[in-house]
């Protein structure tokens, strides 16, 4: 694993023994679509005194798990568990992938006692990013500025499987210049559901249309969430409808890395 475990503390010339060694499970959507979120997570973790490593990784296996393909899901779970063996913590900028790692891996190996023990241990050290910062590290504020009105959408798995609700809001309240408004139905699903959004596109569209209405009614200029899947779904609908509301991962805003184009916007597009 050595060559994959490129760590950030090394780059910073730090390396105190007390720094927890945090493995960033970056998630496939952040990896491929929005690397900025990964770097924002690294910054937040480093600012909180962590040493961040990024073991070689692919996907948590949730698409296979939810499609009924247990064998592929198990193969990917074993791969992830092995890759993060040397880490004190595994931190995920996603409630959905975080839920897969922390809740569903143990269930996946329920019939294999030896593997189940490993999965349990892995699950115990796994946390969604904002809840790790607040609940584990005791972070209460961040050093960031963002001028605008934002609404935070509670992603289903983060909310219901991992109890992510107050943590991102608490940190957002410490962001300079940011004003936070609540959606009327913040806890209602956006209709993404992974492959559901493609397999049942028409139903998914009906659900996300309602979500888009809720977002527009809240009069926020940016919608935030802790999951790229939900964000791409919500902003994809808003953009198709011609709405100017933007979308960003909550980590970008908390890390003060929300300068670049928002999700689904290009560098060239003039700021609206």
């Amino acid at each position: 694993m050595g060559e994959d475990m490129n760590d950030s503390a090394h780059r910073r010339g730090a390396g105190r023994k007390s720094e927890p060694r945090v493995g960033l499970f970056v998630t496939c959507l952040v990896d491929v679509i929005r690397p900025t979120v990964g770097f924002a997570a690294v910054k937040l973790l480093e600012d909180a005194g962590c040493r961040v490593v990024v073991p070689s990784q692919t996907c948590c296996g949730q698409p296979a798990y939810n499609a009924g393909d247990r064998l592929s899901a198990k193969a990917l779970a074993r791969q992830a568990i092995g890759a993060f063996e040397g880490c004190d913590y595994v931190v995920v900028p996603s409630g959905s992938c975080g839920g897969m790692l922390a809740r569903h891996y143990p269930a996946l190996f329920a019939d294999e006692p030896e593997e189940a023990v490993k999965a349990e241990r892995f699950a115990e050290k796994t946390h969604e990013l904002t809840s790790f910062l607040v609940d584990v590290l005791g972070v209460t504020k961040v050093d960031a500025r963002f001028s605008g009105t934002v609404a935070y959408h509670d992603s289903c798995a983060g909310l219901r499987e991992l109890g992510v609700k107050a943590q991102p809001r608490r940190l957002l309240q410490s962001v300079d210049g940011l004003s936070l408004v609540e959606l009327k139905e913040a806890e209602t699903c956006c209709g993404f559901g992974g492959l559901f959004a493609v397999k049942y596109g028409e139903i998914s569209n009906a659900i996300v249309s309602r979500k888009a209405e809720d977002i527009k009614n809240a009069r926020a200029d940016t919608v935030l969430a802790g999951d790229m899947g939900c964000l791409m779904n919500m902003v994809g609908k808003l953009q198709r409808e011609g709405s100017p509301v933007r979308a960003r991962h909550v980590a970008e805003v908390l890390a003060g890395m929300a300068e670049g184009p928002s999700i689904g916007e290009s560098q060239k597009e003039p700021a609206r």
Binding site: N6, D7, H10, R11, V26, D31, I33, P35, T36, F39, S56, Q57, T58, G61, A64, N66, A67, G68, D69, R70, S72, A75, L76, Q79, A107, C156, A157, R160, E161, T188, C189, G191, F192, G193, G194, L195, F196, A197, K199, Y200, G201, E202, I203, S204, A206, I207, V208, M232, N233, V235, G236, K237, Q239, R240, I263, G264, E265, S266, K268, E269
Partner: protein, 475 residues
């Protein structure tokens, strides 16, 4: 055979529901339930603890179901009633029609019953020349339309006041055209006037049961209109149709379950009527039926005991899962194509009529988990829907392109180096395709997405490649 199913055409049904503007307007009402339920739960500090004990009561009963069924049967006999067991829908219909005939019934008053829908009872009664009259207002309205319930506790939730008014005007021939039916109360008064005569004419009353109490041989129904009481008290005979998992050991257990039932269903602390029936009329009773029969129906449930879907038998039919389901909220209940809609229907339908017919339903969920969050008996509904997906996958019932696509993806995802290389290429390609706007409005193989929404384009290179380049440079 059970009620006719169109569950295998779920996608087409869903499309029809989504383009039906009238239906979409009517459905917005169902969202009131969620607000009421959470207010009711908040008013009761011990609500969460009650949910735990409700689950424990049902689990205990299911573990000893045979004993409690026997005890229940004994108690019904002792109180002068009779218990009949029906293995499947055919047998259940035969027994009920046979009983009705033995009472010389020409007309039957019916209280709301989902299991009666499941076994196709109205059709069987009609075929035998017996007129079934639904007496629940919603059920009555949809009976006039020849429709099925679209919700297990609010059968006509897919209709508006105006729909019901026009049905009444069509069906009630002597209704003066200038009669004002614009308010729900006026519709209710009209239905009540028509139904009162039907109650008095009915030879037999058929109800379902929310609970069958083993301790006393009692059947319990909860209603808000009082129609259930008239159904079981006025006619000469009362027939209860109920599935085997309705059994609870004691009255105390039933009382505990009642405390979570209405709160979860409509947000009421108690339904308006909670009616207990034990046997036929006794000598000193002022009223009641001369005969009391219970038809206990299995129809596939005993096969669920001890298996992956046993937890589903805890269901007390409150409807909270569908009220809170984003898919149900978007489509209403008819799209599900059989008797039980929403998350509980998505688990139950394949169990009862087969995964080949009902297999789409457990797939049509975002797994948002809200159903499990509100289920009064804590049924892990998403987990069970996933179980069904696993069975389909194992039996190669899921669509071939879907299976191949998943296999193709898994091949890459289990090979990290190859995965990094190919996702790097894909990121670059998609970045180029979306370069002018930062998003794509069309992508082959993902049209299920891009037909309805834009797709954010990648930032160009993957996180892993950038991270490696960065950390490599400083080493």
């Amino acid at each position: 055979m059970s009620a006719v199913s169109t569950a295998s055409r779920f996608k087409e049904n869903a499309h029809a529901a989504l383009i039906d503007a009238r239906l979409q307007g009517a459905l917005s009402f169902s969202r009131n339930f969620t607000v009421r339920r959470s207010a009711a739960a908040e008013r009761l500090p011990e609500f969460e603890a009650l949910r735990d004990s409700a689950r424990a009561i049902k689990d205990h009963t299911l573990a000893h179901l045979d004993l409690y069924l026997e005890a229940y049967e004994r108690k019904v006999r002792e109180s002068g009633g009779e218990v009949h067991y029906a293995q499947d829908a055919d047998e259940a219909r035969r027994i009920v029609v046979g009983l009705c005939r033995s009472f010389g019934a020409k007309s039957v008053a019916k209280g709301k019953s989902m299991v009666a829908e499941e076994i196709g009872l109205n059709e069987a009664l009609e075929a035998a020349g017996i007129e079934p009259v639904e007496t629940d207002l919603g059920e009555y309205a949809i009976q006039l339309r020849g429709e099925r319930p679209s919700h297990i506790i609010a059968p006509a939730i897919h209709l508006t006041k105006r729909d019901i008014e026009s049905d009444f005007r069509r069906a009630h021939r002597d209704l003066p055209p200038d009669r004002d039916l614009s308010e729900p109360e006026k519709l209710l008064a009209e239905a009540r006037a028509v139904l009162r005569a039907k109650f008095l004419a009915a030879d037999v009353g058929i109800t379902g049961a929310n609970f069958l109490v083993a301790e006393t041989g009692t059947s319990i129904i909860v209603t808000n209109e009082g129609n259930g009481d008239l159904t079981q008290i006025l006619p000469r005979a009362h027939i209860v149709v109920a599935s085997i998992e309705k059994i609870v050991p004691t009255l105390e257990d039933a009382a505990q379950l009642l405390r979570v039932l209405s709160r979860s269903a409509t947000g009421q602390d108690m339904s308006v009527y909670t009616t207990f029936s034990t046997g036929p009329r006794r000598a000193d009773d002022p009223d009641g039926p001369g005969a009391y029969h219970v038809v206990v129906i299995d129809n596939g449930r005993s096969a669920m005991l001890g298996g992956a879907f046993e937890d589903m038998l805890r269901c007390i039919r409150c409807g909270a899962c569908m009220n809170h389901c984003p898919v149900y909220q978007a489509l209403g209940g008819h799209a599900y194509g059989w008797v039980y809609p929403g998350p509980m229907g998505a688990v139950l339908t394949p169990s009862l009529i087969g995964v080949k017919e009902g297999g789409q339903l457990p797939n049509a969920s975002t797994f948002c988990g809200r159903c499990e969050e509100v289920c009064p008996v804590r049924i892990p509904l998403p987990k069970m829907m996933r179980h069904w997906r696993e069975r389909e996958f194992e039996r190669h019932l899921s669509p071939a392109p879907f299976r191949y696509g998943l296999g193709f993806w898994a091949f890459f995802a289990t090979r990290p180096a190859l995965y990094r290389f190919s996702t790097g290429l894909a990121a670059r390609a998609l970045h180029l395709m979306g370069r002018s706007k930062g998003r794509l409005s069309w992508l082959p193989l993902a049209t299920g997405w891009t037909r309805w929404r834009d797709l954010a384009a990648p930032e160009r290179t993957t996180f892993q490649s950038r991270w490696r380049a960065k950390s490599g440079a400083t080493r």
